[in-house]
C-alpha cells in the first residue's frame, strides 16, 4: 500500500468555505504532481480546476461562473500556499508538494532533486589530467589491495504520495508555453577516454551524477608495468554555439522593434504592425479559421451536416425571428453553457453558419451572436421602402453633412437625446448618424449588413426589437422597428432618450415626459391622402421649435405628398419646404433654417448641416441672407433669378 510520508499540515486562509475549496484543490494538485520534487512548482489553470470541480459538483456547485469566482477567491486568499499567475488572460495557480507557494520561476528550478536526495556531497566529475589519472590509478590499486569492496549505502527512495489514477484529468488541455528551443550542440562527440586498469583492481565508483561518461578498458595487469600509460587523446571541448539572438526585428521599413522589451510594451508601441504581420500569416494559412474576433483551427472545428443546417433553418423559421446561437445549441442540441466544450462547440456553430451565406445571415454582436434566415418576417413597417430610406440617409456618410454629436456621458454609458422628426416618426426609424455610430454596436463580421437591437421602453415595460441596417454602397444606415413605440406614445418634436446598457445590443429608450396637453399637429391622413392638422392629446415633452403646428406651417394643410420622383430631388423638396415655411416677399420666400428644418424633414431626412450645404452649394434658386445667421431666400426658377 502506498503511504504518504512526512505529510505536513497546511494552513489555509479565508472563510470556512474558501478553506475547504483550497484544501480540496491543494490535495488535487499534490496528487497531480506526486512524482515532482518537493519544491517543484505544480501549476494548474483556473479553468481546469473549475471544470474538474464543477463536473464533480463540489459543494453542490455546477455553475462554472460561480465556481470560477469561488476558486479564484479561495486560492487567492491563501497566498502562502498558492501563487496566482496570469498569462494571456489565463489565470493559473502554482503551489508545491510541501504547500509553499512556488516563488522561483519554473525555468530556474532544477526539477531533479535526486542528486541531493541520494548523495548530498555529489560533485561534478572533472576529467583528470594524464598525470592525475596515473596517480589515481596507482592509489586505487593500492586501496583495492588493502580494503575489501565497499558499496555506499543508498538512502531509501521516497515513496510516491498517491496513485496516478487519482489525478484530475482536464478535458481541455491548458495552454502551455512551448519549451524554448534548445541550442544545438555543434562540438563533435567526445571520444571515450581510455585508462589502462589491471583486471584484478577494477575500481568501484560510488554513485554519482554521470556528467561525463568515462569508458574503462580492462587490460592485463602485466601490461601495466610493461607498457607506459599512453597519453590519451584529449579532445578540447568546442564551445557550444547558441543560435544568435535577434533582438531587433524589422516590422516595416524604418520600423524596428526590440524583442527584448516586455510584450505589453511591444504591443503598445508596435501592436498594429504585429497585428498586420500575424493576420497576413494566419489569413493565408487554411489551418486557421475565425469567426468575428475569435480564431481556432479548422481541424478542431466541428462540422454540421446538411441535415443539421436544415434543422437550424427550420428552427429559426418556427421561432419566427432571429435567434441566438445559444438558443440553437440549447433547443436543438441540448447543449448547456456550463459544459466543458461549450466554447469550441459554439465557435463551430457560428463559423459553419457564417459559411452558409445563402441560408443564414449573422445579425448579432460580440456578446450576443444572433442568426436569421431567409423567410423570417422583416422587422419594422416603414412608409418608404428600405432601399429608399437607405438612399435618403446617404448623406450621413459624408462627415461634412452630419450634425455634431448629441451624445452625453462616456463610452459604455452614453445617453443620446434626440428630437424626433416627422420622417423618423412616420417610418419608425432613427438615423445612423455620428451619435448613433458611437452609441450602437459596430459590425462584427465584414459582410454583416445589420444587427438586431433590443430597446427596453422603461416607461412602458415593453421591449422593442429593432434592426440597425449598416451603411453600404450608396446607402446610409438607419435603425428600423420603433414605429409602434413612436405612434403609440410620441409626436414629431418629442425628445427621445436612448441609453446604453451593459450589453452591446441592448438599450433603454424613453421619452421626456411633459404635462398632458392637447395640440393640433400635422399628420398624414391616409384615407384622404393629404396632410392635415389634427388635435391630439399627448403627455410627452416636445421641442416647440421642431413641432409642426398650424400657426407655423398652415400652408401645408390639405396638401398632397410629393411624388417619389419629386422626393428624390433635394432641390425640389427644399423648394416645397420654403413654400410651406417661408415668409413670402413678392416672388421670394424667406425663412430661417430652424423653421425650414422641421418641414423639410417631412418627405426625406436632412440634417441642419446638409440643409446649409444644399442652400449654399450653387443652386441659385437659394440665397443666403448676409445680414442674419442661418437665414435664406428662395426664389422659384423662371421668375427672373436664374
Amino acid at each position: 500500500m502506498v503511504q504518504q510520508l512526512n505529510q505536513q499540515t497546511i494552513e489555509f486562509e479565508g472563510t470556512d468555505q474558501e478553506q475547504a475549496v483550497a484544501g480540496e484543490i491543494f490535495n488535487l494538485m499534490r496528487m497531480f504532481g506526486f512524482s515532482y520534487a518537493a519544491n517543484r512548482p505544480i501549476r494548474q489553470t483556473l479553468p481546469n480546476l473549475v471544470q474538474y470541480l464543477s463536473e464533480h459538483k463540489f459543494q453542490g456547485i455546477e455553475n462554472a461562473e460561480e465556481m470560477t469566482g469561488l476558486v479564484d477567491k479561495a486560492l487567492t486568499a491563501s497566498p502562502k500556499v498558492f501563487r496566482r499567475e496570469e498569462e494571456n488572460g489565463i489565470v493559473a495557480f502554482v503551489t508545491t508538494k510541501v504547500g509553499i507557494a512556488a516563488v522561483i520561476p519554473s525555468e530556474q528550478v532544477d526539477h531533479h532533486s535526486f542528486r541531493t536526495r541520494l548523495y548530498a556531497d555529489a560533485k561534478p566529475v572533472v576529467t583528470p589530467t594524464p598525470a592525475e589519472q596515473a596517480a589515481q590509478q596507482q592509489a586505487s590499486n593500492r586501496a583495492a589491495e588493502a580494503n575489501p569492496l565497499q558499496l555506499p549505502t543508498a538512502a531509501p527512495l521516497p515513496l510516491p504520495t498517491a496513485a496516478s489514477a487519482a489525478r484530475p484529468v482536464a478535458a481541455t488541455v491548458a495552454p502551455t508555453t512551448p519549451a524554448k528551443a534548445a541550442p544545438v550542440p555543434t562540438a563533435a562527440p567526445k571520444k571515450p577516454e581510455t585508462v589502462a586498469v589491471p583486471a584484478a583492481a577494477k575500481p568501484t565508483t560510488p554513485m554519482r551524477p554521470a556528467e561525463v561518461e568515462v569508458a574503462v578498458e580492462v587490460v592485463e595487469a602485466a601490461s601495466v608495468v610493461a607498457t607506459p600509460i599512453s597519453e590519451p587523446e584529449r579532445v578540447a571541448p568546442e564551445p557550444v554555439t547558441a543560435p544568435e539572438a535577434v533582438r531587433e526585428l524589422e516590422l516595416a521599413p524604418d520600423v524596428v522593434a526590440d524583442l527584448s522589451l516586455p510584450t505589453n510594451q511591444l504591443l503598445s508601441e508596435y501592436g498594429s504592425y504585429f497585428r498586420s504581420s500575424l493576420l497576413k500569416g494566419i489569413a493565408s494559412d487554411s489551418r486557421f479559421v475565425n469567426f468575428a474576433n475569435e480564431w481556432y483551427l479548422e481541424e478542431m472545428t466541428g462540422r454540421y451536416s446538411k441535415g443539421d443546417l436544415r434543422r437550424i433553418r427550420e428552427y429559426i423559421l418556427e421561432v419566427g425571428g432571429p435567434v441566438t446561437d445559444a438558443d440553437i445549441l440549447a433547443d436543438l442540441y441540448n447543449k448547456r453553457t456550463n459544459e466543458g466544450d461549450y466554447t469550441p462547440t459554439r465557435f463551430a456553430l457560428d463559423y459553419r453558419l457564417a459559411k452558409e451565406k445563402k441560408d443564414f445571415e449573422f445579425v448579432g454582436t460580440v456578446d450576443e451572436r444572433i442568426w436569421t434566415t431567409a423567410g423570417v418576417p422583416a422587422i419594422g413597417a416603414t412608409r418608404h421602402k428600405a432601399a429608399e430610406i437607405g438612399t435618403d440617409y446617404k448623406y450621413l456618410e459624408d462627415p461634412n453633412l452630419v450634425d455634431s454629436n448629441e451624445l452625453k456621458g462616456e463610452p459604455g454609458k452614453y445617453t443620446w437625446e434626440h428630437i424626433l422628426t416627422f420622417y423618423e416618426y412616420e417610418n419608425g426609424v432613427l438615423p445612423y448618424d455620428v451619435s448613433a455610430k458611437a452609441l450602437f454596436p459596430k459590425l462584427l463580421q465584414e459582410d454583416q449588413k445589420s444587427v438586431i437591437l433590443r430597446f427596453e421602453a422603461t416607461q412602458l415595460g415593453v421591449v422593442y426589437n429593432a434592426e440597425l441596417r449598416y451603411p453600404s454602397g450608396n446607402r446610409g444606415g438607419w435603425i428600423v422597428g420603433l414605429e409602434s413605440f413612436f405612434s403609440d406614445n410620441l409626436v414629431p418634436g418629442a425628445i427621445l432618450v436612448v441609453r446604453q446598457t451593459n450589453r452591446t445590443n441592448q438599450f433603454t429608450i424613453e421619452y421626456k415626459q411633459g404635462e398632458e396637453q392637447e395640440a393640433r399637429l400635422l399628420f398624414w391622413d391616409e384615407r384622404r391622402q393629404k396632410f392635415v392638422f389634427r388635435p391630439i392629446i399627448f403627455a410627452c415633452a416636445i421641442n416647440k421649435e421642431e413641432a409642426l403646428t398650424p400657426d407655423r406651417y398652415s400652408r401645408i394643410d390639405g396638401q398632397k405628398r410629393l411624388e417619389e420622383s419629386e422626393r428624390k430631388r433635394t432641390d425640389f423638396v427644399l423648394a416645397n419646404a420654403f413654400e410651406y415655411a417661408g415668409q413670402k416677399q413678392g416672388d421670394t420666400y424667406y425663412t430661417l433654417l430652424d423653421d425650414l428644418y422641421p418641414i423639410a424633414n417631412i418627405e426625406r431626412p436632412f440634417s441642419r448641416n446638409y440643409l446649409r450645404s444644399l442652400l449654399t452649394s450653387g443652386n441659385n434658386q437659394f440665397r443666403v441672407d448676409e445680414t442674419t445667421p442661418d437665414a435664406f431666400f428662395y426664389k422659384p426658377a423662371g421668375q427672373g433669378r436664374r
Partner: protein, 48 residues
C-alpha cells in the same frame, strides 16, 4: 487601422501558433493570439 507590416510569419512560427491553439482546446481571441505570436517571435529569435 493596422499599419502594414513587411514581416511575414515563418512556417515554423505558424506551426507553433497552431500547436498552441490545438493544445488550448478552444478558440482564442485575436488579442490573445497576438500576444502568443509575439512570444513565439521572441522564442524563435532567441530574444527571450
Amino acid at each position: 487601422m493596422d499599419e502594414n507590416s513587411t514581416l511575414t510569419p515563418t512556417a515554423e512560427q505558424l506551426e507553433k501558433l497552431a500547436e498552441w491553439l490545438r493544445r488550448s482546446g478552444r478558440p482564442q481571441s485575436a488579442d490573445t493570439l497576438l500576444r502568443r505570436y509575439i512570444e513565439i517571435l521572441k522564442e524563435t529569435n532567441n530574444a527571450k
